[in-house]
């Protein structure tokens, strides 16, 4: 059950609040969004709340990257072992990578510019939005939350920050893939060796192909949950301001 139903007179909404999450337009820097697409195709679109294409690009990246051994070759290139870099790359898959990679960056940049314009128009129109949704599965409402908590939980397990601000899909997706990356890269086995003091064994046990997915995944989870907490808080304030102005400005102060 929602506390709002559109009247067909609105042209744009700046946010949508449903049982599975709050989707919101806000101003974004197109270069920052393009950068996240470059770090990991799909992340730029996820930041823009274009979840289906974001998740599709993400899965595409994990699949084509691991089939072509791209991450492994990146590691070899960075440490100057170019012979091995050429050796591990699989030519059956490698060229599939480039067009989609470039598309993800370009498309997220372009979409950001468009959505920024839509946001300014929606902000000026300032139409009523749904702020409360209660269903048999979930309850979601506009609320103020602490950005620092979103960051801390995301650092502990990517996805928890998204759960904190009620973005169920991103949370499940991020946490699920983190399990895949951690398991196949042997990252936790390496952590185990680090604590036992054997750095060499820690290095040996890691699979570079899978391990290289992890830094971007954590970085994205932190950034996404932080910015969305800040923006959710701003949406809350703007909605409450509107509510108070509409309902509690009949009395006039007497001096």
């Amino acid at each position: 059950m929602d506390n709002f139903h559109p009247t067909n007179k609105e042209r744009r909404f700046k946010a949508y609040l449903g049982p599975l999450g709050t989707t919101q337009l806000h101003l974004r820097n197109p270069y920052v969004v393009a950068w996240w697409s470059a770090a990991f195709p799909g992340f730029g679109h996820l930041l823009l709340s274009k979840y289906i294409r974001g998740f599709s690009l993400f899965i595409w990246e994990v699949f084509v990257n691991s089939m072509s051994n791209l991450n492994h070759a990146i590691v070899f290139s960075f440490i100057g072992n170019f012979e091995m870099a050429k050796e591990v790359l699989d030519p059956r898959w490698l060229l599939l990578y480039l067009p989609v990679y470039m598309f993800a960056i370009w498309d997220s940049y372009r979409t950001t510019m468009d959505i920024n314009k839509e946001f300014i128009l929606a902000e000026r129109e300032n139409a009523e939005i749904n702020t409360y949704s209660i269903t048999s599965m979930e309850i979601n409402y506009l609320d103020k939350r602490r950005p620092i908590m979103a960051v801390l939980w995301s650092l502990m397990t990517p996805g928890l920050g998204q759960l904190y601000i009620h973005r169920i899909f991103t949370a499940i997706f991020t946490m699920g893939f983190m399990i895949v990356f951690v398991y196949f890269s042997n990252a936790l086995v390496a952590v185990h060796w680090i604590f036992l003091g054997d750095l060499n064994e820690a290095k040996e046990v890691i699979d570079p192909q899978w391990f290289l997915f992890i830094p971007s995944n954590i970085g994205f989870a932190v950034y996404d949950s932080y910015t969305n907490t800040v923006e959710n808080n701003k949406l809350y304030e703007s909605e409450q301001r509107k509510f108070l102005r509409k309902n509690y400005q009949h009395y006039h102060v007497k001096l």
């Binding site: 820097n29 103020k144 390496a190 830094p215 954590i218 970085g219 509690y248």
Partner: protein, 151 residues
């Protein structure tokens, strides 16, 4: 009797208002004046090309991730291994991005004074009979009013 109070934006204002309505104060005797924050007002006029308010974090997160990936790669050739070098890279990248942004803001936004501490964001004025003034004040304080005064 008029009671003036100020609040931050949060559910507590609405809790206070509904509690006042429950003790019989009508809507017509409650005035809420949400203040537009000077800084937030200005943000709307930022260009399309810049996100607002969170930019101090933007470059830090981007460079942190980039340096973390690079640190991880080098880590495979260095003594401490990819995990530790990845973490070192993330910290260096984040700090670097933060410092770049911070310096940038210091130079470009020198004139804007930062507001510190709590900000008053909503004024709430209640018109009520003398007898219930204390009750009203109690409700306002219980819901974390920043300040209360009667005139």
């Amino acid at each position: 009797m008029q009671i003036f109070s100020s609040f931050e934006h949060s559910s507590y204002i609405e809790l206070a208002i509904t509690a006042l309505e429950q003790i019989g104060i009508e809507k017509e005797n409650i005035l809420a004046v949400p203040l537009y924050n000077r800084i937030e007002e200005r943000k709307l006029f930022d260009t399309l090309h810049r996100a607002d308010g969170v930019s101090l974090f933007d470059t830090g997160a981007a460079l942190g991730t980039a340096f973390s990936v690079i640190g991880t790669c080098f880590g495979f050739a260095l003594a401490w291994g990819p995990i530790i070098w990845g973490l070192i890279g993330a910290i260096i990248g984040f700090l670097l991005g933060f410092i770049i942004n911070y310096t940038f803001y210091k130079i470009t936004r020198n004139k804007q004074r930062a507001l510190k501490g709590k900000k008053s964001e909503v004024f709430l004025v209640i018109n009520c009979p003398q007898e219930i003034v204390e009750q009203v004040e109690k409700i306002l304080w219980e819901n974390f009013a920043l300040g209360v005064s009667k005139v």
